[in-house]
């Protein structure tokens, strides 16, 4: 089975810099000038990344699969 790849995007205008994502998935997110930034735009499927998007209080993070379908957060 080919491992699934996800694409991460962060809406920097919505981000409040709470740092929950970087604390939850430090391999995927870091804060740059107080704003969450994906370390890589494409990552291997990783539950911590999904959890980070689900845990963002302002839903600034979107995680999509290869076909562009939204994996997190839930609508």
């Amino acid at each position: 089975m080919v491992s699934d790849h996800w694409r991460i995007s962060v809406d920097g205008d919505t981000c409040i810099g709470a740092g929950i994502c970087a604390g939850t998935a430090p391999a995927a997110f870091r804060l740059v000038n107080g704003v969450s930034t994906p370390i890589h735009e494409t990552v291997d499927a990783d539950d911590a990344v999904r959890a980070a998007a689900e845990s963002c209080p302002v839903e600034a993070i979107t995680v999509r699969d290869r076909k562009g379908a939204v994996i997190a957060p839930e609508p």
Binding site: G17, A18, G19, I20, A22, G23, T24, A25, P26, L31, G34, D47, A48, A51, E54, S55, C56, P57, V58, E59, P73, E74
Partner: protein, 400 residues
């Protein structure tokens, strides 16, 4: 300077006095941004006072809360935390937190705003009908957050007299005895177990039912004990701090009449004012919840060794002149305000968006409906809480 030459300061540096922040924090930020401290209970620790360092301590995975479980962590309470989210690190912490996070997003919280406004206005109506003076703590600041969290969780609001008294246990240091604190917490657990049993029999559309369903569908998500603790934490912590901050913010406004006038002239400033008040009010009597370094970390010019605890001072970070120009002045028109009043990192307050909304509604309603709001006693006669983790007023008699 070697570690053995460092002076160890007793911390907190001084007893709380209203919302004055001990000037020693500013001196430490300049001179010794990581300093050795000893708190009333637990082991010696580092205290970080600069904004950037505090954010590192709270946000960097090299600092662990879970590690505190096996240590005599530095604290101002005789009691040690025994379990809960604040004793966990990702990914265990994430497993529990994600179950409730979506109920507290800005989007979900916005849906509660009209109802929160309605409750606030009803409380003011009752105060006006009864006539001045009135205790703002009892008549407004306490019932507002309690009603909102009750409706969100599915806790009967008419039980508030019981669980509000018990909830003091989560913010008490010495206001209650160790036995009372343990007893109140057991009462909260027993009360929550009763509600959980009811929702299991008869689910409704509330957060208790949703979490019961999450566990009953897949019990690897959380244990029964975790379910009880999580919901109890949301109920108790979910109102105690906002109950305290509404009078705190009101106090700051009434003692800064020019700022209150500015808000009255332009109520659109309320959200920015709430952020600034979050920054300005040093809510904690001292910072607590040390993070333990899991490896050697260079921080604030010091090599923190693996296994050493570091306390990050939120109040000091929020007054850091490197980040906030003229940090000791209250300014509702700051161009940026990245305060960390709700913490930072994985443990950033889960109820932050709810608290923001409630505080915005509370201040908006007070400003609009009481154009002559004032203390009904001289400021010096206001009674402040003591023996608590947080600064706050026991009562706030007001007139209008």
């Amino acid at each position: 300077m070697t570690d053995t030459q460092r002076v160890v300061h007793a911390y907190p540096f001084s007893p709380p006095d209203r919302f004055k922040l001990d000037p020693f924090y500013a001196e430490l930020r300049r001179r010794e941004p990581l300093t050795r401290v000893r708190m009333p209970y637990g082991e010696e620790a580092w205290l970080a006072t600069r904004y950037a360092d505090v954010r590192t301590v709270l946000g960097d995975a090299r600092f662990s809360r879970a590690a505190s479980a096996d240590r005599d962590e530095p604290r101002i309470s005789p009691r040690k935390l025994e379990a809960g989210l604040l004793l966990m690190d990702p990914p265990e912490h994430t497993r529990l937190r994600r179950l409730v996070a979506k109920a507290f997003t800005a989007r979900r919280v916005e849906q509660l705003r009209p109802r929160t406004h309605e409750v606030a206005n009803e409380l003011v109506d009752r105060m006006i009908t009864a006539g001045p003076p009135a205790d703002l703590v009892e008549r407004f600041a306490t019932p507002l957050p309690i009603t909102v969290i009750c409706e969100l969780l599915g806790v009967p609001v008419e039980d508030q007299d019981r669980f509000h008294v018990w909830s003091e246990a989560v913010v008490s240091t010495t206001s209650l005895s160790v036995e009372q604190i343990a007893g109140y917490i057991q009462n909260l657990f027993a009360y929550m177990r009763g509600l959980i049993a009811e929702r299991r029999r008869e689910p409704t559309e509330d957060l208790i039912s949703a979490l019961v369903r999450a566990r009953d569908e897949d019990d690897s998500r959380l244990t029964e004990d975790e379910l009880v603790r999580l919901l109890t934490g949301l109920l108790a912590a979910g109102h105690e701090t906002t109950v305290t901050q509404i009078p705190n913010f009101t106090y700051v406004l009434l003692t800064n009449p020019d700022k209150l006038a500015e808000l009255r002239a332009d109520p659109d400033l309320v959200p920015a004012a709430v952020e600034e008040l979050m920054r300005y009010v040093p809510l904690g009597v001292a910072s607590s919840f040390a993070r333990y370094a899991t490896e050697d970390v260079e921080l604030g010019g010091v090599l923190v060794r693996a296994g050493e605890p570091v306390i990050g001072s939120l109040s000091s970070a929020n007054r850091d002149e490197e980040v906030f120009p003229d940090p000791d002045s209250l300014d509702f028109r700051r161009s940026t305000n990245p305060h960390i009043g709700f913490g930072h990192g994985a443990h950033h307050c889960i109820g932050a968006q709810l608290a923001r909304m409630e505080l915005q509604v509370a201040i908006d309603v007070l400003v609009r409906r009481f154009p002559q709001l004032r203390f009904a006693v001289p400021e010096k006669e206001l009674e402040w809480k003591s023996g608590m983790l947080v600064r706050g007023l026991k009562r706030m008699p007001v007139a209008w």
